[in-house]
């Protein structure tokens, strides 16, 4: 089973200081697949500093891997020809967090849609481009006649984010990488935008990476949830396993930090005395060791690999130590097989 994009044992290390002596690992030993024969939605959940933005940039080809390889349709991304890069740019689309920043205020809102359609040769004339844009806008629930010709400031944040989804859609991609697409959208519209992304996957077979800090919306849309902390995969598995039977102490802490929308379900707020924050990331061992309530000597010395704990889930915690280890990509493949079997 080939996937559209595959990261294989990727490290991304940023160096700074004199002669690059200060080295900071933004991603460690990450293997992940996107797309392929069974396109699904994978949520990447992490707080600030978790490496989720680096991961987004890596998958979009904006960030080279320090070691390891990112493959596109089975070929190393670093060895693609200019024409293949152009094909990649059409095939893999991005939706970003801020629907206010991505527009040039001087152009009408259809400008960022017309340009790529022409560049990638999907439309031979402007009229044809407009026709495709109208179709895409209708798919995302915008009325083309009320949208085309407007300037960005005349539209709300939710409308602009939908235009960005329409833009991604119009290019007929097989993969969309959505980086916090709803965190700046109002609550009443959040659900609508997520439903749209969900439908793109179900109805058009587009594979999605949904990058977010919000576990509840990750659970709402994704089949597979990957929990990232300090550049390391803490846990990956089916949404059900990760949310309802979490293994990793970090996943459990994240879930406990989310209040239920039902005021009658108790939420232990505590008194705020635990002031641990991501500020001090250890250089070796488990990234979560400095905050983990179950930390052992081993955790500080050696980074735990992803232990193969369950059929559809793996946990990188010494408390879950097994003889077998696995990768996030392998768990995704098993989940895809399970889906295919279930569908038949």
């Amino acid at each position: 089973m080939t996937s559209t994009i595959e990261a294989r044992n990727v490290d991304v290390v940023f160096s700074s200081g004199l002669g690059g002596r200060i080295r900071k690992a933004a991603l460690q030993d990450l293997s992940l697949t996107v797309g392929g024969e069974s396109p699904s939605i994978t949520a990447v959940v992490g707080e600030s500093g978790s490496g989720k933005t680096t991961l987004t940039r890596l998958l979009l080809g904006f960030q080279p891997a320090t070691s390891g390889e990112v493959m596109y349709n089975g070929r190393a991304m670093s060895s693609l020809s200019p024409n293949e890069v152009k094909a990649f740019r059409r095939d893999v689309q991005a939706i970003f967090q801020d629907p206010f920043e991505v527009f040039n205020p001087f152009y009408r809102v259809e400008h960022p849609l017309v340009t790529p359609l022409r560049t990638f040769g999907l439309a031979q004339s402007k009229a044809e481009a407009i026709h495709l844009i109208e179709q895409a806008m209708e798919t995302v629930g915008l009325r083309p006649q009320e949208t085309i010709g407007k300037h960005p400031h005349q539209l709300s944040g939710g409308q602009r984010q939908r235009i960005m989804i329409a833009r991604a859609l119009a290019l007929r991609p097989s993969v969309i990488i959505a980086d916090e697409p709803v965190s700046m959208v109002d609550a009443s519209l959040r659900s609508t935008i997520l439903e749209l992304l969900w439908k793109l996957n179900r109805e058009q077979g587009i594979a999605l990476i949904y990058v977010t800090h919000d576990l509840t919306t990750a659970y709402q849309v994704a089949e597979t949830i990957l929990v990232l902390y300090g550049g390391q995969v803490m846990e990956i598995g089916s949404a059900e396993d990760v949310i309802h039977r979490p293994r990793h102490p970090y996943t459990r802490a994240l879930i406990e930090a989310v209040p239920s929308p039902d005021p009658d379900i108790p939420w232990n707020l505590g008194d705020g005395s635990d002031t641990g924050e991501v500020s001090n990331m250890p250089d070796q061992g488990c990234a979560f060791a400095t905050r983990c309530p179950h930390v052992m000597a081993k955790c500080r010395a050696q980074r735990p690999p992803l232990f193969d704990t369950d059929p559809l889930r793996a946990s990188a915690c010494w408390m879950d130590e097994r003889t077998e280890t696995t990768t996030a990509a392998e768990i995704q493949r098993r989940a895809a097989t399970a889906r295919t079997v279930a569908a038949e």
Partner: protein, 321 residues
């Protein structure tokens, strides 16, 4: 009552005419109580708080009454208001990141609050007082020697909480104090805010957009839409029996760990603040709207036989289910 606000309105002058940011908002908060205001961007929730603090830039405030602990604030002079801030009511701002002065040590900016209110301390006494304040919000006393850039977002927000409680105010106004923070830090900071508020016995008005967070923090909740308070009441009552269709739809739209692949968004977009819509401001998006909703504006009224404080501004409140 600690705070009683009656018919507060705020208008901004724009090149396209007046923008009605807040319209006839009334609410009250009892001593030591917790009131939350939720709403989307542009619903007027932050403007309401800034109007209470009299920190609005350019907006015109009108109010029948703003009563703080028996004192009428509407006619108060600006110098008197200046004395009131921090001493009687203090604000925890939205972006702690940008509300601290980057070139002053924490001790200097915290010290300003005392200096401005004519509170004099000796050097070591001031140090001890600031250290104690910082420890109350879960920071170490020597954070006062640091500059803002040396602190994380959560630490800065804690400093802002320490500043808000410095003079022991009766009322804390917190404008989305945790929305820029990571989930786990958000929980810790909110817990800290709740603890110091309780220790102080102050009332708190918390502004936010996260209904689930509110559900677990406040006693009473107000839901704002298009500059109006469309529903108010005890938070559990509101969640159990919402009486305004907007509140009901907001609650239904919340994601939870109980449901996957189901989505209940609210169709449409909020109205422009530049026009005064006839009838109910929510009618263009309301699935229940009838003729009366398009022509007559509903005023907040009691809608719950068992809970007289539960008010909703909806003609069809009794039919919401």
């Amino acid at each position: 009552m600690l705070l009683d606000v009656r018919n507060l309105s705020v208008e901004y002058v724009t090149p396209k005419g007046p923008a009605y940011a807040v319209n006839d908002v009334s609410f009250s908060l009892k001593k030591g109580g917790r009131l939350g205001l939720v709403g989307e961007s542009g619903s007027g929730k932050s403007t309401t708080v800034l109007a209470l603090m009299r920190l609005l830039r350019g907006g015109r405030i009108e109010a029948e009454a703003i009563d703080l602990d028996g004192r009428e604030l509407t006619g108060l002079s600006d110098p008197a208001y200046r004395k009131l801030r921090f001493a009687d009511m203090a604000m925890v701002p939205q972006g702690a990141m940008s509300s601290l002065n980057p070139v002053l040590r924490i001790s200097e900016q915290m010290g300003d609050i005392f200096d401005d209110h004519g509170v004099r301390h000796g050097r070591s006494e001031r140090r001890a007082i600031l250290g104690d304040l910082l420890e109350r919000v879960g920071l170490s006393a020597n954070v006062q020697d640091r500059y803002p850039h040396e602190l994380s977002g959560g630490m800065k927000q804690r400093v802002c909480i320490a500043m808000a409680i410095a003079l022991g105010p009766d009322l804390i106004l917190a404008d989305e104090p945790t929305s820029a923070l990571d989930v786990m830090v958000q929980k810790q900071v909110l817990a800290t805010l709740g603890r110091v508020q309780r220790e102080l016995g102050a009332g708190i008005l918390l502004i936010g957009h996260d209904m689930a967070l509110m559900a677990h923090f406040v006693d009473d909740l107000g839901v704002m839409y298009a500059g109006r308070l469309v529903e108010t009441g005890p938070v559990r009552r509101l969640f159990a029996k919402p009486r305004h269709p907007y509140t009901k739809m907001l609650i239904d739209s919340l994601p939870s760990f109980e449901r996957r692949g189901t989505f209940k968004g609210i169709p449409g977009v909020g109205p422009s603040l530049l026009t005064r819509l006839e009838g109910c401001p929510f009618h263009p998006r309301c699935p229940m709207a009838t003729d009366i909703c398009r022509t007559k504006r509903p005023d907040p009224r009691p809608v719950d036989a068992e809970e007289p404080r539960h008010l909703a501004a909806c003609h069809l409140a009794e039919e919401v289910s």
